[in-house]
Amino acid sequence: MATLIVPDNVSPSQDAEVLRKACEGWGTDEKAIISILGHRNAEQRKQIRLAYHQLYQEDLVKRLESELNGDFEKAVYRWILEPADRDAVLANAAIKKGETDAKVLIEISCIRSPEELLAVRRAYQHRYKRSLEEDVASHLSGDLRKLLVGLVSAYRYDGEEINTRIGNSEAEILHHAIKDKAFNSDEVIRILTTRSKPQLNAIFNRYREEHATSITKNLLGDDAHPNDFQKALHTTVRSLTDPHKYFAKVVRDGIKKLGTDEDSLTRVIVTRAEKDLRDIKDLYYKKNSVPLGQVVAKETSGDYKKFLLTLLGEED
């Protein structure tokens, strides 16, 4: 469930006026910006941008970019973009970062629906004049490239039909690959990057039935230090099977990184506020015995904090 709180009656042109006023003159009225944008869904934000452009011949996004700064600006910038465009920006940033932290790319390709992923690919082409897969491919190599290009190029069947025979044979194949520690086998990559989500869940369930452990445990192997590829495999399976649990963990790790890297926390809150942030909050509380809102309030500050809390549905 979403955490975003939206009022019943909204007027895009009124909102545009308020935002204009907030940006005019000396200083910026961040409170007004948060109180409007923090309570509008994607369609409404789109309408506000259009209204703002009509009224003032200016791109609201550019205006906000120049008025705001720091983590608050980054969060608002990501928030105000349309979801597919936002994911394209996040993907490009992740690719450019040069690390082989494939989390963002895996999230986008495994947690979005097939049609949403397509929209991201289109938005990426529109923005960067190249395809997403060509950038992923040219910045990575080896096994990680094979996995990630496969994941971002997938257009998975999105129906409910599953085939039990295929489920069983694919589970066997995974079992053999894991047993031989051949985690990077073409078969493992094939299964993870082409099968539909319901089919994958059937495969993983079958695996657990037959081998008494969940596949996620076995994918990390016995190594205390799994390599980047193994970590990516692990992330892939978790994103495909239990995205809420996955995000709760990203948030927890993200909070530990605060002070040096706000990106993870911002990303989860901004991208899930309209989807399932409530479920993630509940799971976070279950696992950490402290409400997420409380932790965010303690570990962040200023307008950035206020904005995050608003998106989390925590009002003052």
Partner: protein, 315 residues
């Protein structure tokens, strides 16, 4: 029936692509039983002398004849199909037929626009309850799998922007791969697959041209791997590729699957680039495509094809 001539016409009506319905009606509709018997005796390719002293149809021939009669029907059904369904079914059929038909998968993946390929993938979901990439990955084995899966999964950028440096470095990457071709097969090479399956077609043109200018002749270098050569041709010089498919289909001794190329190419390209294909065909083979079809095909099937390939000529 003036025997040798009509016999020849009758035999011809049953040979080649499609059947000459008009001749069959004209000759068979009017001839006497005695004349039909002479036809049977005089056509050892079609009829065999049975031990119980009668001439019987060769079963295999009847089967072939069934295909020839169906050629027009298949062309009509394929022509009227939505392009997405058409491409999805072509890929599925190729997967079922096995490695000798995989060229069709390359053809569909590489010669359609990004949106057309996407549409075909959607239709594939509806028709077969699987994604095209999962079926290709599951059915194709060996070294071709990686390339084919990558090609059908592509959603290439189609705008005008091409970065020259990137094209140059891609050409270099290909050159390296070709140099090591005896140690590592080309079609398995990650860089070759990356370039061919992710880059835009305009970018690939640059790579193709740059390679030919600064390294080697790319067509020669690719001679060792026909699947790769097909892919490169489909992506960079599709009209050349299609002309070759047509030429092979129109040969007298073409085998069953090759012959199907004629219907497939005419139906799928009639409204896309048939004019260019006709020009390229003439450049490569000296004959006009319509003349070749006139010589090799018959009846309604022939008329249908000729009409299709001429339909955009007035523009």
């Amino acid at each position: 029936m003036a025997l040798p001539d009509e016999l020849g016409t009758l035999t011809k009506a049953f040979s080649g692509l499609g059947v000459d319905e008009k001749s069959l009606i004209r000759i068979l509709g009017k001839c006497h039983p005695e004349q039909t018997k002479s036809f049977r005796k005089g056509a050892p390719d079609f009829f065999i002398q049975d031990e119980r002293l009668f001439e019987r149809w060769d079963d295999h021939r009847v089967k072939l004849l069934k295909h020839e009669f169906m050629r027009f029907k298949n062309a009509v059904v394929l022509w009227t199909m939505h392009p997405w369904e058409r491409d999805a079914r072509l890929v599925k059929e190729a997967l079922k037929k096995g490695p000798q038909a995989y060229g069709v998968i390359v053809e569909v993946a590489c010669t359609r626009s990004s949106e057309e390929l996407l549409g075909a993938r959607r239709a594939y979901h509806s028709l077969f309850d699987h994604s095209v990439e999962e079926d290709v990955a599951h059915h194709v084995h060996g070294s071709e799998r990686k390339l084919l899966v990558a090609l059908v999964s592509a959603y290439r950028y189609e705008g005008p922007t091409v970065k020259e440096d990137a094209a140059k470095s891609d050409a270099k990457a290909l050159a390296n791969a070709f140099k090591n071709a005896d140690k590592k097969s080309l079609i398995d090479d990650d860089e070759v697959i990356r370039v061919l399956s992710t880059r835009s077609k305009l970018h690939l043109q640059e790579v193709y041209n740059y390679y030919n200018k600064h390294h080697n002749n790319i067509d020669e270098d690719l001679d060792g791997d026909s699947r790769l050569k097909e892919a490169v041709q489909c992506l960079c010089v599709p009209q050349k590729y299609f002309s070759k498919v047509l030429d092979a289909a129109l040969k007298n001794d073409a085998e069953k699957n090759t012959k199907k190329g004629l219907t497939r190419v005419v139906v799928t390209r009639a409204d896309v680039d048939m004019k260019l294909i006709k020009e390229e065909f003439h450049n490569l083979f000296g004959d006009s495509l319509s003349k070749k079809i006139e010589d090799t095909a018959h009846g309604n099937y022939k008329d249908f094809l000729l009409t299709l390939i001429a339909r955009r000529d007035a523009n």
